[in-house]
């Protein structure tokens, strides 16, 4: 059996996937996402070979290599059984030392559970077990790509941001942005820092990005797993915008994949939950030391 594979970015993969599902008109189909950092190092070909036995009995399937982290596998026919086989295969391919991955090694992609673009597409594109009403493909695409505006910047925002950026290094009272979805942790961290710093606390990626542009904060405490996406994506975007930004990832996970991604994005710190005052103030002290050092360098020049 030939397994069809596609190396693609997320957008192209999603569009192809929906088209595929629409074309098949299949009553039974399945879709899983595989979190690649959990698996041992393998080429795409090696991975396809390893997954092949689990896909023997399905009528049609497709594997999308979306990015370094994500693989989508979709198939038609006997979804439950295939999911179990794929799951067993993936768990046999785990990277040594993976104990608690930052995302499931393999999970059903649930159209209703996730707020991401794939779920929006599938929710409308299929008539699977959830019995969702079908939506024309063009409308779906419009709905999905409207959400792609998450990391855009209007001219007005850019103007405001540049003004705030100019003030950033001169602030006597530091501005801190907390991006954390859990009300309890957002409040805990805010209240501890409120006496000495200017605090903004928001629950998601989009609000985090908007607040960053609004205030150009000195420090960002950023959770990794957020309802509207990964904190890594926001960290990456902020660092692209302002390489001198100071970002501290705050998370329960200290898994290699999260640490690696944080490093790749050049974040400045990593705080594990449960956090304490000392660890938080160490981060702030580190930021201040760095700021003083670069001010000295500037004055020497």
């Amino acid at each position: 059996m030939l397994i069809e594979t596609v190396e693609s970015n997320a957008k192209a993969a999603l569009l192809a996937l929906v088209k595929e599902i629409n074309n098949q008109h299949a009553a039974a189909w399945g879709l899983v996402t595989i979190h690649r950092p959990c698996l041992k190092n393998m080429t795409n070909d090696e991975l396809v070979l390893a997954l092949k036995p689990a896909l023997q009995e399905v009528t049609r399937q497709k594997i999308f290599f979306v990015d370094a982290e994500t693989i989508y596998v979709t198939w038609f026919g006997m979804p439950r059984k295939t999911h179990q086989k794929l799951s067993a295969t993936c768990h046999s391919l785990l990277r040594p030392g993976i104990i608690e991955p930052s995302a499931p090694v393999i999970a059903y992609l649930d159209p209703l559970a996730m707020g991401d673009e794939l779920s929006v597409l599938l929710k409308g594109a299929t008539s699977n077990s959830e019995g969702e009403q079908k939506m024309p493909f063009a409308d779906l695409a419009r709905e999905v790509w409207r959400e792609k505006s998450a990391f855009t910047m209007t001219a007005k925002q850019a103007d405001r941001y540049n003004k705030m950026l100019a003030q950033k290094t001169m602030r006597t009272r530091l501005t801190i942005l907390i991006v954390e979805d859990q009300y309890f942790l957002r409040n805990l961290l805010s209240e501890v820092l409120l006496t000495d710093y200017e605090i903004d606390a928001v629950p998601g990626i989009q609000e985090g990005w908007d607040h960053y542009l609004e205030k150009a904060p000195n420090i960002v405490f950023l959770d990794i797993q957020l309802p509207d996406g990964s904190g890594h994506a926001l960290a990456k975007k902020i660092k692209e915008l302002d390489p001198s930004s100071y970002i501290v990832m705050v998370t329960v996970s200290n898994q290699l994949d999260d640490v690696e991604l944080a490093k790749q994005n050049h974040v400045d710190g990593f705080v594990l939950k449960p956090f304490n005052k000392k660890r938080i103030s160490d981060c702030i002290d580190h930021y201040l030391a760095m700021r003083n050092q670069s001010a000295k360098k500037r004055s020497l020049v």
């Binding site: 608690e100 996730m114 009300y183 998370t251 449960p274 000392k278």
Partner: protein, 109 residues
Amino acid sequence: MTRSVNLAVLHEMTDGDLSFDRRMFKAFLKSAYECLATLDKSWAKGMDMAWYQAAHAFKGICLNLGAERLGQLCKEAQEQCTAKAQKKKELLKAIRSELESVRQYLESL
């Protein structure tokens, strides 16, 4: 039997300030019941990813309050995200019961 909450963990942040503690107890319970509702919903609909994310978030808040047993149950729930519905149902029951103990303990302070 040990206490449901090891307050020393929260006091690392609040310095044992009772009114601060109380505000945080309320905030914790609000977050905890939201996570529980998401677990319930994702169990009912068989949504592995949503279950995993809710269990992960729940575990995070438990760690910072010092609700160690509850945190351990959430960790187990997270690990069992692809388990059968019956297993998840048992976990939900245990989580609900432990959360009730935590609530009673917090309200007694």
